[in-house]
Structure formats: C-alpha cells, structure tokens
C-alpha cells in the first residue's frame, strides 16, 4: 500500500537536498510545493524542458498561416481591383500575419500551460497549507509502506522542520 509523507522546510536548498536524497535512494515519487520557482529544486528533480514551447510554436505557425490565408481568401472572394494593384498584396498582409503569429502563439502557449499544469482545477487541493504560498517549502513523497523509515530519515536528515503523514 502506498503512503505519503510531507516534509516542511524553511529553505529551498534544504528541500532540494531532501529531493536529491529521496530520488537517489529510489524509494518514491516526489512532489515539491514552493512559494517561488527554485533552481536548486529544479536541478534536484532533474526537470525536462517544458513542452509549453511546442504549443507556442504550433500556435505561432498557425497564426502566421491564418494571417496570410484570411486576407488572401477575402480579396479573392470579392475582388476589388484599385489602381491596377495586384489583389494579393503581400507586404500589407505581412502586418496581419505578424500580429496573428503573436496572438495565436501567446494563446496556444497559455492554453498549453493550463493543460500541462492541470489548471484550472476545481478539485480540493491534495495539500492545503497556506505556508507554501508564504515562506515554506513542502516535499511530498509518495512511497510503498515498507520504505517509511528510509523516507522519514531522508526528510529529517535534510533538515525538515516537521514531517506529517498524508492520506
């Protein structure tokens, strides 16, 4: 049966040390709660590059294509030749394509961010502790019951102020 323990730390470096210890001994999954992004914790977790960038890229390309497609379609749909100029006036449409590249890229990135981070979320929070948006770092470890002592020792050794059990 799997269990959870939550270590509370007053310093990002201590939390990062706990993460490293737990991950090195390979006893369980780690989730960190923090008031700010923290590079030491990121390094300890060995995080991959976020795939928000793929969303932004695809959105941007889509925006660029739409920014050319919409004006070109409209001038062909209702041709209105003025001053003998060509209907498909690319330089003018570059402005539209440029703005839509940015608009779609930004919106797609935002949507990707929401999806990847599980937001917006209406569920009750797993860990509801106001200290983690103030000045404390929480390291939540999910592990098999047999590893309880190891995990507890790792959290305590790294300098946890308190360690609480979590359902």
């Amino acid at each position: 049966m799997s269990m959870r323990l939550l270590g509370v730390f007053d310093d990002g470096l201590k939390a990062a040390a706990a993460v490293t210890a737990v991950r090195d001994s390979n006893v369980g999954e780690v989730l960190v709660y923090s008031p700010t992004p923290n590079h030491a914790i990121d390094r300890a977790l060995d995080v991959k590059v976020s795939s928000v960038r793929t969303f932004t890229l695809v959105g941007g390309l889509l925006g660029c294509v739409s920014g050319f497609a919409l004006p070109i379609y409209t001038v062909l749909d209702w041709p209105l030749i003025t001053g003998g100029k060509s209907l498909i006036s690319i330089p003018a449409f570059v402005v539209i394509a440029f703005e839509l590249t940015i608009l779609f890229g930004a919106i797609a990135g935002f949507v990707g961010f929401l999806g990847l981070s599980g937001l917006p979320s209406l569920r009750k929070k797993t860990v509801d502790d106001p200290r983690f948006s103030n000045d404390r770092f929480g390291v939540l470890v999910t592990f098999e019951e047999s590893h309880r002592e190891t995990v507890l020792a790792h959290l305590r050794d790294a300098g946890a102020e308190e360690v609480n059990g979590h359902a």
């Binding site: 700010t36 979320s121 106001p130």
Partner: protein, 445 residues
C-alpha cells in the same frame, strides 16, 4: 528581507482603504460619468460638436488614442524587454507597469470608436462573413490597427494575469475576509507544485519573447495610420521608430507619475527604492534623446527634400497658428528631460515627478501637433484659415474622462491585487547578494 516579510508587507496593501481613497474614487467616477454624458450628446448631435470641420477631420480623439497606446508601451518594455535583458531591478516596478499597459490599451481602444460617426457600427472593422458579402480592406492601416491593438490587449492582459496567478493564490491563502472566494476563483487552483512552476516559467519567458516584437509592431502600425497617407508632415519613413521611442518616453514618464504617489500611499518605500526611480529616469533620458533626434531629423529632411509642400507644413508647424504647441512640445520632450543628466535630479523624487508631468504634457501635444497642424495645412491653400479646428467642451470632457477612467481602474486594481509581484520579490531574495541588487546585471541564464 525574508519571504514572510515580503508576503506580509505586500498583502497588507490589500486591506480596506480609508475615506480618502473612496473620496478620490467618487471624484473619478463623477468625471467619467460627465464624459459619458458628453459622448451621449455627441451621438445625438453628431461629430460637429467635436469641432470637426473640413479639412481637420481628425482631432483630439485620435490624439488621445495615440497618446494612450503610447502610455501602454513602457509597461511592456519594463515587464518583457527588461525581463529578457535580465535587468533585475524591474521586479519592483514591473507589476505596476504591466497593469498600466492593460488599462492604457483599454482606454486607447475606446477612442477610435468615439471618433467614428456611427460608433454602433464599430464591429464593421472586424472581418466576419456577413449578409452584405463584404470584407474589410486589409490594405488599410486602420484594419492593421484593429489587429495590432486587439492582439496587444489580449497578450498584455494574459501576461498580467499569468504573473498574478501565484500572487492571487497567496492572497487566497492569507486574506481572511469576504474577498477570499473571489481570490479562490481567480487563482484557478494554483498550488505552486514543481510541475506548475516549470510550465509557468517557460510560459512567462515565451510571453516576454512574444511581447517584445509585439510592442515594437503596435506603435509602428499606429504610426502608419499617418505615414501611409500622402499628407505632408505625415508621409515619412521615420514615423515608426520615432513613434515607438516617443511611446516609451511618455510611458516611462507615466510609470514615474503613478509610482511616486503609489509607493508613499501603500508604504512600499522599502521595495520601490530611489535606485529604481533613478533607473527609470535613465530610460527617460535615453528615449528623450531619441525623440529629440527624431524631431531634428524630421525638420532637416523637410528642408533637405526641397519639396515646397513639406517645407510649407513644417514652417507652418513652427510659426503658424499651432506654433505655441509645437514649441512647448519641443521644450517638454527634448529639453526638460535633459536635467536628469544630473544625478541629484534623478534621485530627487519631486524633481523627477515634475519632469515626468512635463514629458506627459509634451507627448500629448506632440500627437496633437502632428495630427492637427498637418491636417489644417494640406495641399489646398484655401483650407489654411486660422481657427479651422478648435477643440470643444465635448472633446475636453471625454479627454478628462479618459484620464479619470485610467486612474480609476488603476486605483481599483491596486486595492484588490498585489501592486508588486511577491513571487518575483521572493525569488530575488534567493539570488546571491550583490552590492546593490537594483543595479546588478547578472549574466543571462
């Protein structure tokens, strides 16, 4: 400074305000309501009450539009461009500047609608399949404007919101009164897990990277509203860079005008320090020099072109009926900011405040001079009569209303949301201490 002091100090700014706040709010609401009445008068009687008369068919509304779009720009400069440059001092002032951007674009967006004869048809600018089988003209700078401004409003509002989410979550966890459920909804379930932070950081970086070319493009497009025409005084290739620099000059001045009272009123002296104002003052000098150079180039090219219409327009601008405005603009934008070369002036908040007010007056007049002095001095000498365009009370009321609306929104915002990013402030505490964190320029990561 520790995490919990930052949390406490900044959340304290959200407590219920005193009677002075409500008093100011009431005055602002009254001014906005009077502007609404002026607009109603205009819809009943037509644009004649706005002083429009051939050939001056653009006036103060378009002046206001360009002015407010310009104000918006420094917010993006501070929040996005300085973020990409890793200028760490931006942390203290970025939130206020971003908020200013969103509200300034909202204010600006109203003016093209107020300016058109039948404002209830403003949506005809949007390309959508319709029963008239018509499409918008994508070769028109006004349609480019629509795309640029809506993109700018959407992206800057999202950028502001993203930055706010972790701070709203902190407010949700620590504010105990009736506002808590509202914060709970707005925090969209933010928990601050490492997974969320990873995507958050990535997104924030991309928004900064996207907002940077956007900010340059938006005011370039606004400048093309003028430069794409053949009117002397407007038809100029220098307009795009000249407008972007002018926008940032006026925007930085507005940030200073807002931050000096805000910092005192919310008691944020420890966070927004003199060194931050000094850096803003340096931005002011830089952009003022660029704008001054652009003025000289404009006049030089007008002379060098040997084009009688171009020369006539610029002579009229300097010595004609609107000459006092042109000279005031030159003095306010290109000369007065030069006093900030003296360090004592940069670090003296009263002096800085006065210089910034002058810059705002100057930048508003710059747009007025460009628009009105060029339109009233077109190709037909019969149009060159004095007093052909005189602003009316309707325009005055709506202009005052726009300023009131902007400050009203800003005042409401800073009482409901943290005026300084707590997340970024805490992050900056983590970093290795330099002699002065406000001026440190760490290597890019």
């Amino acid at each position: 400074m520790s995490y919990s002091t930052i949390n406490g100090d900044i959340l304290r700014t959200l407590r219920m305000p005193g009677p002075a706040y409500w008093g100011v709010l009431t005055v602002l609401v009254a001014v906005v309501l009077f502007a609404v009445y002026a607009f109603w008068t205009q819809t009943q009687l037509g644009l004649g009450v706005a002083g429009y008369e051939h050939p001056a068919l653009w006036g103060i509304y378009i002046t206001n539009f360009v002015f407010w779009v310009g104000i918006a720009h420094s917010g993006t400069l501070i929040s996005a461009v300085l973020f990409l440059f890793r200028a760490r001092w931006r942390t203290a002032v970025a939130r206020a500047a971003e908020t200013m951007t969103v509200f300034a674009v909202m204010t600006a967006g109203l003016f093209p609608i107020i300016h058109i004869g039948r404002p209830w048809f403003f949506y005809w600018l949007i390309p959508y399949p319709n029963e008239r089988n018509l499409w918008v003209n994508f070769r028109s700078p006004l349609v480019w404007d629509l795309f640029a401004i809506t993109t700018y409003l959407t992206v800057s509002a999202l950028f502001l919101f993203i930055g706010l989410v972790p701070d709203i979550a902190a407010a949700r966890d620590h504010v105990k009164d009736w506002r808590r459920p509202i914060y709970r909804v707005l925090a969209i379930g933010w928990q601050g897990t490492n997974r969320q932070w990873r995507h958050y950081n990535s997104l924030y970086g991309f928004f900064a990277a996207l907002a940077t070319p956007l900010v340059v493009s938006v005011h370039s497009v606004v400048s093309w509203d003028f430069a794409m025409s053949i009117l002397p005084g407007w038809h100029s290739t220098i307009f795009a860079p000249y407008f972007v620099a002018g926008a940032i000059l006026s925007g930085v001045a507005m940030v200073i005008v807002i931050l000096i009272p805000l910092r005192k009123w919310l008691g944020l002296e420890e966070y927004i320090r003199i060194s931050h104002f000094e850096n803003l003052a340096k931005l002011l000098i830089l952009t003022s020099l660029i704008v001054g150079y652009a003025y000289l180039t404009e006049y030089f090219i007008a002379w060098y072109s040997n084009n009688p219409f171009e020369q006539g327009t610029f002579l009229d601008r300097m010595f004609g009926q609107y000459a006092p405005f042109a000279w005031t603009m030159l003095i306010c934008n290109a000369l007065i900011p030069l006093v900030l070369f003296v360090k004592k002036m940069r670090t003296n908040l009263v002096a800085l405040f006065i210089v910034s007010i002058f810059v705002n007056i100057g930048m508003w007049l710059e747009r007025f001079v460009i628009i009105v002095s060029s339109l009233t001095h077109d190709f037909d000498p019969a149009n060159w009569t004095d007093g052909v365009y005189t602003p009316t009370w309707v325009e005055g009321a709506i202009t005052a209303g726009s300023f009131a609306m902007f400050f009203l929104l800003f005042l409401l915002f800073v009482r409901c949301f943290p005026a300084i990013s707590m997340t970024e402030m805490k992050e900056s505490v983590d970093q290795p201490a330099e002699s002065d964190p406000a001026t440190a320029w760490p290597a890019p990561v």
